[in-house]
Amino acid sequence: MWRWTQILVAGGALGSFYALVALGFSLIFGVTHAFNLAYGEFILLSGYLAYFLWKSWGLPFYGTIPVCLVVMPGAALLLHLFLRRVRSPFEINSLVATFGLALVLQNLMLALFSADYRLIQPEAFPFLHLPATGLTITDKQFGLLTFSLAATLLVHLLLRHTFLGKALRATIQEREAAELAGINVNRMGWLAFAFGGLLIGLAGPMYGQTMYIYPAGGVEATLIAITITIFAGVGRTRSLLLGGWLVGLAEAAAAMWLGGSWKELVSALLLITLLVVRPSGLAGRDGNHKP
C-alpha cells in the first residue's frame, strides 16, 4: 500500500516536472509555430547558469532561480530574433535551423563548461519521512512538485483569466482571426518567447537539480517537451499537467512491473494509443479544430 503511495509520489513529482519542461515549448510553439529543437539546450544553459551561481558564487539553490528568471527570457528573445529571419515554410525550416543551432550550442557548452556531468545540490534531505510506513518525500521532490505546480497554475491563470492570456490563446487557435481582432500577433510572438524564457529559467535549475546536466543532454529535455506538448495539445495547461503525470506514472509502473528497460516501450505505446484514439490531444474537446 505505502509502496504504491511512494511510486505515486515519485511518478507525480517527475510528471509535474515533465509538464513544466513542456510548458515553455508548448507556449512558444503554439503562438509562433516555431518548432524549437534547441529548446533542451536552452534549459541546459539555464541549468549551467544556476550550477555556476551555486557552485562558484555560493548562492543557495533557490537563490539561483531569480537570476535564471531574469537572464533566460533575454536569451529566449534573442532566439526569437534569430528565428524571425527564418523564411517560410516556417515550421519545418525552424525545425532544421534550430537543429543546427542545437549543434552549435552543444559544442559551445562543451567548450565552455567541459563534458563533465554536473549536479546541483546533490545532498538530499527528507521533507517528510514516515519510518513506520517507509514513505519518504524528499525536499527535492517537494520542491519539484511545488514549483512545477505553481508554474503550471500561474500559466493557467495567465491564459484563462487575463486579457493578455486570452489574446495569446486566440493567437494559438486562429492566427489570422486573432490578427483581425486587432491583436498584434507579432507582439504576441515576443511575449510567448519571453514567457517561454521565464519557464525555461525555472526549468533549468530544476533540471540541474533533479537530473544531471551535460552538454549533450539537451536532446532528452527537448524530447520530453515535444512528447508532452503534442500529447496534450498546444496551449492547454491542464492537459499538459495530466499528460506529464500520465507519462511519469506509466514509466514508474512499467519499471515496477516489467523492469526499467521496458519503460520507454510503455510510454511509447501509451503515446501512440492516445494519438491514434484522440488525435486532438488529451482531453481534447473536438470542435472544428484542425490538428
Binding site: K166, E176, L180, G182
Partner: protein, 234 residues
Amino acid sequence: MSVEHLAVCYHGAAVIQDLSLQWWPGKITALVGPNGAGKTTLLKAVGGLLRPVAGRIFFRGEAIETLPVWEVVRRGIAYVPEGMKVFPQMSVLENLEVGGYLDKTGIPSRLAEVFSIFPELQEKKRTLAGQLSGGQQRLLTLGRSLMSGPRVLLLDDPFLGLSPRLTARFHDTCRALMAKGLTLIIAGQHVARILKGADEAFLVEQGRITLSGPGPELLSHPHLQAILFDGNLP
C-alpha cells in the same frame, strides 16, 4: 475612403493590377465578380492582411496600406473573413472579448450591443465556439468583428453556406448596422442578393474594375449578366 492604382501580388502572381475605386461612408458597397477576380485579395489588402506592391489606400485622409493589421483595425476597419474563423477552444464570450482587444474599456457596452443583435449568442455565451453550428459560428465571427467598434466592415462572402433564412437574417442585420452609421463593403458569390441591397457596386474582373454603379442598376447590366450568369437572369 479610396483605393488608388492598387496592385497586389499573391504568391508571386499579380492578382490586382492598377485598381482604383472610392467608397462612400455610411453606405453598402458591393464587390462582385467571377471566381478569382481578386475580390478577396482587395478586401485583404484594405484590411492590412496583404501588403500591396504598388498603389495607395486612403482612409479618412490617411494612407493605411503599409500599416500592420492591428493598426488598421484600430482605425476602424474590420475585415470579416469568409468561412468560420472562430477560436474553437474558447467560449463564445471569450471570443467576443478578444474581439474587443484594442479597446478594453468599451467591452461591456459593445458586448451588450452585440448580444442585442444576436440574442442566440448570449444564450450560448459559455459554450465553446468550436461546438456551435456553422451558422452560429458565422454570426459569432461577425459579432466578434463588431466588438472592435469598426467604422467600416469588410464582409467577405458572408452568405456562403448559410441557409436562406439565415441569409435573410444576415442581410437585415447588415441593414441595421448601416443604419447605425457603419460602412459596409460586401464581396461575394450571391450576386443577386448582394447587389439588390447595395447602394454602390463594382464589378471586379481579373484584378480590375470593369463596371460600377448603384447595385440594382448593375444587376441588370448586360455585361455583368454575360459574365456572371451566362446571360440567364437568375
